[in-house]
Symmetry: C2
Subunit: 294 residues, 2 copies
């Protein structure tokens, strides 16, 4: 989940046009909380009792009026405790390096539940924040990059969020990885999954880890199930007392990728004869075949 953090950080530079705490962060945070409580994920994830104002204060308390590199892992404990939810069996999904695809596949909790679907992650997703010892306690001008602070302070929020999330998982959990990044292996032992999520899975509650290795269209395929870093992953999962399964490019994920680029050579090859079949099938059903053009 390093890529998560990198992704969030890069996104924020783009989104806010500055690198300090997100403007109006209290209003954004509390507003998301009200939206979550009243309209989002109802029926999919349980309601949290804590008020939105209370959640904001517990979150804020972890870093406000502190030096940005002086935020310990435990600083957010009161927030995790107040915001955590019971998670549905067999639906927890972890991901690394494939933020967009994993979230589109998860489909807002309908297929899978990611950390960013839970209240803990939803409220903070894509935000930047850091404290200052001066008034008003938040630095809206500049936050240190993740590499400027010691590891613990950099990772404290998302590491703790990941641990809390993983510790609530039950049944089969899913992990989506990128097998086509030439710059880093699909699985890394310094990833959030390896450092915080896998060790937090409870072998009495979790039965197996179902790994999905995806490959971007039209890009070199670097690793597959059973090769390279995925051998390490299998070993680590097995050592943790969990069953391990792995699949490359399940067809449902290929459909999602190909929805964005159906004309690509790879989609044409993968879904051979698709258009021909479709046209033939439709023609036979179209009793009043007036031709239209697209």
């Amino acid at each position: 989940m390093w890529s998560h953090i990198v992704c969030v950080s890069v996104l924020l530079h783009y989104v806010t046009g500055q690198s300090g705490t997100t403007l109006n962060i209290k209003d954004v945070f509390e507003g998301r909380c009200y939206d979550y409580k009243e309209t989002l994920y109802n029926g999919l994830l349980p309601e949290v009792k804590a008020s939105c104002g209370d959640l904001w204060l517990k979150f804020l308390d972890a870093f406000a009026y502190k030096h940005p590199c002086d935020v310990k892992f435990e600083s957010y404990s009161a927030y995790w405790e107040a915001a955590k939810q019971i998670l549905p069996t067999d639906k927890v999904m972890f991901w690394s390096g494939v933020y967009n695809l994993a979230h589109r596949f998860a489909n807002n909790g309908k297929r899978y539940v990611t950390l960013e679907d839970t209240l803990i992650g939803y409220l903070a997703n894509s935000l930047t924040w850091c404290g200052t010892q001066k008034q008003p306690g938040l630095n809206f001008t500049r936050c240190p990059s993740w590499t400027d602070c010691p590891t613990e302070a950099s990772e404290s929020f998302w590491a703790g969020a990941s641990k809390t999330f993983a510790s609530e998982a039950k049944g089969v959990v899913t992990l989506m990885l990128d097998g086509s990044n030439p710059k880093q292996p699909a699985y890394r032992r310094n990833s959030f999954f390896a450092k915080y999520e896998l060790p937090s899975l409870n072998p009495k509650l979790v039965t197996s880890v179902k790994v999905i290795v995806t490959h971007a269209l039209n890009a070199p395929k670097v690793e597959f199930c059973g090769t390279g870093s995925l051998v390490d992953l299998k070993n680590d999962v097995t050592k943790a007392g969990l069953k391990y399964t792995c699949t490359d490019d399940p067809i449902a994920v290929m459909h999602l990728l190909c929805a964005d680029d159906p004309e690509s050579r790879e989609c044409q090859l993968t879904f051979a004869h698709a258009q021909g079949e479709l046209t033939r099938k439709k023609r036979s059903e179209d009793f009043n075949g007036m031709p239209d053009f697209f």
Copy 2:
């Protein structure tokens, strides 16, 4: 877009468990606004200058302290004016009867921009609201159903929102319809598209209407391009001075549908040989083919 309204209404019964104004509506509305301004759609849709507090007051003013059936079309004018955005050329999408599919295809403004992606629609989407002449001016117990009030009051918000949205469209606009609903035709002259959107398109700015007719998997296919109500649609679009194109089940949309149900007979037929091709292709690339299972 009747189905839009029906869908929102049904959703709300489910979501809020009551049929009065959404609880904490001010906080949800303003919170969404802050989230929208600070983190959502940046780079895709322009920022709106009005403050979130101001937008809420303009919205509230349209119905607070009024009988719920006494809300005229123009009541929301100040809100439309303050919240409307310039829309990107060739990206506007209308839809009817296919809320989920249309929005997944639109992909939060990345492929298409729907009314619900714009600030006007985003702030109100899935909420229920109505006024009362008594304190506190909003009825949190019960709002009339859409059929309890005269048409104008029922439709006033979403009709005006749709008109405002359509009037800002430029280039090619897209309309996604459901060709597999046995209870209603794909195109109806009492639909929101026919009543409010098509008449609001500016033929000096909009060049053509690209219709996408979709069919649910494993359901009877009721209408296709060039048949039934789609003949009326072609006539109405042409009369409005716009070019008309129509396509049934474009392959990109089929991919999205099949991502949810890849094993269905129809997906197997449409994307013939998919898994065989994929397996063959992967095996040839997988230099270290240790078998894994999924």
